[in-house]
């Protein structure tokens, strides 16, 4: 034992260190592990994600994806904390209305070059990237599309002899006609609770007052906005369940599923949830969002996957672009109802051959993107929704509500 001098020990140590320094590049280069923050909540969404992950695992056995569910209402708080504290996820799902806020806080990575060199870039219209790009830089890949549409009780409509509405005026009449509180039946499952802000903004735009104008300026046209708000609050008062002011996603879906309401305004993502309770084409049908007096506002929003950390960026890129594969996109559609963002995938006969998807396919033609500017999401959620609820509980008039919205918008964008 005494033969081992201090010097020989040091030599051995040096060799060991050299060896360990080399090994990672040899043994770990093949495997990467990334985590994925998403806001999928329903069972069907979860099933869709599982499906995509299974396909991805088969294609990329070397990349391990750990999904982490972040409840949608908490998403911004969580990601803000993660960015500020430096514990970012590798990939995050970002909806278009959150893009500008996240970009402003420095959460997103510019992936313009990767996108430019992507073999499936041609499958996507340029417009698909519009709400995740700024100043020519691209920050995400569209994973799937939220196509706004409506579900209606086909059997009730037929029974009452009402045609499927194509304008907001017809929509209102149909909703009122189908309302019978004595029977516990309401024409319209209006979302006045959490998440109800987007239809409110859409109504103002449909009546001629967009928030974000074509020239990039921001502002509301008071009179037209009042008309839109009046329309929507009348709808809530005359055709919606009394719980409207507190009804969020779960409540409007359940209301429709359980035969309380005749129509709801949502997007294609809830299709499988509805179809699991009601018979497609018999008990319920789907329709495009009816046109307003000024314009037809049906949103096409995209869920993007974005790289939110520099670590394992290559693996992250493999994961986010995988959502553009037609097989992955259609598998996801079949589990959930969310439309593919890829034009190639959307042209797949599995979609075009299905009558129930017709309204969504149509909407792809005239749908428009969400208004997006820094502060948009916060203003919509805290000012617009709150003001609208105050109309429903009789605290203020539509005029006062619009004034509150205008003031809030000025504050948010000041």
């Amino acid at each position: 034992m005494t033969n081992i001098s201090r010097r020989s020990l040091m030599k051995m140590g040096g060799a060991l260190m050299a060896a360990t320094a080399l090994t990672p590049s040899l043994s770990f280069a093949q495997a990467a592990s990334i985590n994925y923050w998403h806001t999928f909540t329903s069972q069907s969404e979860q099933a869709g994600l599982d499906q995509v992950m299974a396909l991805f695992k088969a294609a990329h056995p070397d990349i391990a994806v750990t999904p982490e569910n972040i409840p949608n209402p908490e998403f911004m708080a969580k990601i803000t904390a993660a960015v500020v504290s430096g514990s970012r996820p590798n990939v995050s799902m970002v909806s278009s209305e959150r893009f500008r806020d996240l970009l402003a806080m420095g959460a997103l990575t510019d992936i313009s070059e990767r996108v430019a060199g992507w073999e499936r870039r041609a499958d996507f219209d340029d417009a698909r990237f519009a709400s995740i790009s700024l100043d020519g830089k691209i920050y995400g890949v569209p994973a799937f599309t939220f196509v706004d549409w409506m579900y209606y009780r086909k059997d009730w409509f037929e029974e009452a002899g009402i045609a499927v509405p194509t304008t907001l005026a017809e929509l209102y009449d149909a909703a009122v006609k189908l309302t019978d509180p004595a029977k516990g039946r309401y024409g319209f499952g209006l979302r006045g609770g959490p998440g109800g802000q987007n239809p409110i903004i859409n109504m103002m735009e449909a009546f001629g007052s967009p928030v974000l104008h074509a020239d990039g300026t921001i502002g509301l046209d008071r009179e037209k906005a009042i008309a839109g708000i009046t329309y929507w609050s009348d709808m809530a008062k005359n055709a919606a369940p009394p719980s409207a002011a507190n009804d969020g996603f779960r409540q409007i879906i359940e209301g429709f599923q359980t035969g309380q309401t005749a129509m709801i305004y949502h997007h294609t993502g809830s299709y499988q949830d509805i179809a699991s309770k009601l018979k497609p084409g018999v008990e319920f049908g789907t329709m495009a969002i009816p046109a307003g007096p000024a314009t037809r506002v049906a949103r096409l929003a995209y869920a993007y996957n974005t790289i939110t950390s520099d670590e394992n960026a290559d693996a992250s890129w493999e994961w986010i672009k995988f959502w553009g594969e037609p097989d992955a996109a259609i598998a996801f559609l079949e589990k959930t109802g969310y439309f593919p963002a890829s034009t190639t995938a959307a042209a797949d006969p599995r979609i075009t051959g299905n009558e129930m998807y017709k309204a969504a396919a149509e909407t792809l033609g005239f749908g428009i993107p969400q208004p997006s500017f820094p502060g948009a999401a916060g203003w919509a959620e805290s000012t617009v929704l709150q003001a609208f609820q105050r109309i429903l509980i009789g605290e203020i008039t539509p005029e006062q509500a619009v004034d509150e919205m205008i003031a809030g918008l000025a504050e948010a964008t000041a």
């Binding site: 959490p194 009394p242 719980s243 507190n246 359940e254 209301g255 929704l385 105050r390 605290e395």
Partner: protein, 319 residues
């Protein structure tokens, strides 16, 4: 150095090893009056890191422009801009009033239910041990779970509460509790009371154990009835514990928006908007951390004032 630490009468080190032995040095240091401060140092550092620093940081934030989604505005000092805005902000005043209603009603309800439960459980009857565990269950539920559970139970379509009230005849039709401003606040307060009354039960039960039974025997002989015993013996004896529980609960209620966030998000309208929820939304929905910080500072000051006044008025620190 080490010489100056030598205590009179301590044995001088015999060898060089002993002279530099850390055990010997620590041993000698522990005999000096600096030892106390050295022992306090780790916890002092910890408190500075996790309490003092964030508090001070939050306070300085309230004097700055800090909008995460508007990097173009910079992070300059804005002095009292946020506080001035607050004075003119109707939502702030509504939130302040709602906070007062929310906190006061919840505390009163929680205390009353907690006291009754504690008095009931304090009897040494068969089954009270099991009952005590059952009654404490709500408190073990996280706010989020309790919130979602009650949101479902109070649901206007499938909620079991509506069903029951309808069967009993207290309701004629399903009620959308959270869509009506008056019932929304009341329902939220009941949920909160349900969730947190075990906190009072727990503390009051501990306090009751500390009251000698002889006092009640003496009171029985003295002719004090059950209510007089409660008013003149039990409650005065529990004063300190109740005061501590109330302060802790008030702080908890003022500071945590989670239950209201889940049940109502402050709605309908502003009817259940409270300060903590407003600050939370200001920070994480509007990303205006400066204004959110100012709201938090105001809450902090209110809480300090409350705790001070409450301790004063309840005279808990007097013999």
């Amino acid at each position: 150095m080490s010489r100056s630490l030598n205590m009179p009468g301590s044995r001088p080190p015999r060898t060089i090893w002993e002279a530099i032995s850390p055990f010997r040095l620590i041993g000698e240091l522990s005999e000096t009056r600096y030892w106390m401060y050295l022992l306090l140092l780790p916890s002092a550092l910890l408190i500075t890191a996790v309490v003092l620093y964030p508090t001070v940081y939050g306070m300085q934030m309230s004097f700055r422009e800090m909008r995460l989604n508007r990097p173009d505005l910079g992070n300059d000092w804005v002095l009292f801009k946020h506080y001035v805005r607050m004075i003119n902000d109707p939502i702030f005043w509504v939130s302040l009033r709602n906070t007062a209603v929310w906190v006061t009603s919840s505390i009163v309800l929680e205390f009353l239910i907690g006291l009754i439960a504690a008095l009931a459980l304090n009897r040494d009857l068969p089954g009270t041990k099991l009952l005590a565990v059952l009654i404490l269950l709500p408190y073990f539920l996280p706010n989020v779970v309790a919130g979602h559970m009650w949101a479902l139970m109070l649901d206007p379509r499938m909620g079991v509460i509506n069903d029951l009230l309808l069967k009993v005849g207290l309701l004629t039709e399903y009620k959308a509790w959270f869509a009506d401003p008056t019932t929304a606040m009341a329902a939220a307060i009941i949920v909160e009371a349900w969730h947190s009354f075990p906190f009072f039960t727990l503390l009051i039960m501990a306090g009751l154990k500390g009251i000698p039974t002889d006092l009640y025997k003496a009171a029985n002989i003295d002719g004090a009835g059950a209510f007089a015993q409660l008013r003149l013996i039990t409650l005065p004896m529990l004063k300190t514990i109740i005061a501590a529980a109330v302060i802790l609960r008030v702080i908890g209620l003022v500071n945590s928006p989670d239950l209201l966030l889940i049940l109502t998000s402050g709605g309908p309208g502003r009817s259940t908007q409270v300060l903590s929820l407003y600050a939370f939304q200001m920070a994480y929905k509007d990303f205006n951390f400066g204004y959110a910080g100012a709201l938090s500072v105001v809450m902090f000051v209110f809480l300090m004032l409350f705790a001070w006044a409450y301790v004063r008025l309840s005279k808990v620190n007097q013999e």
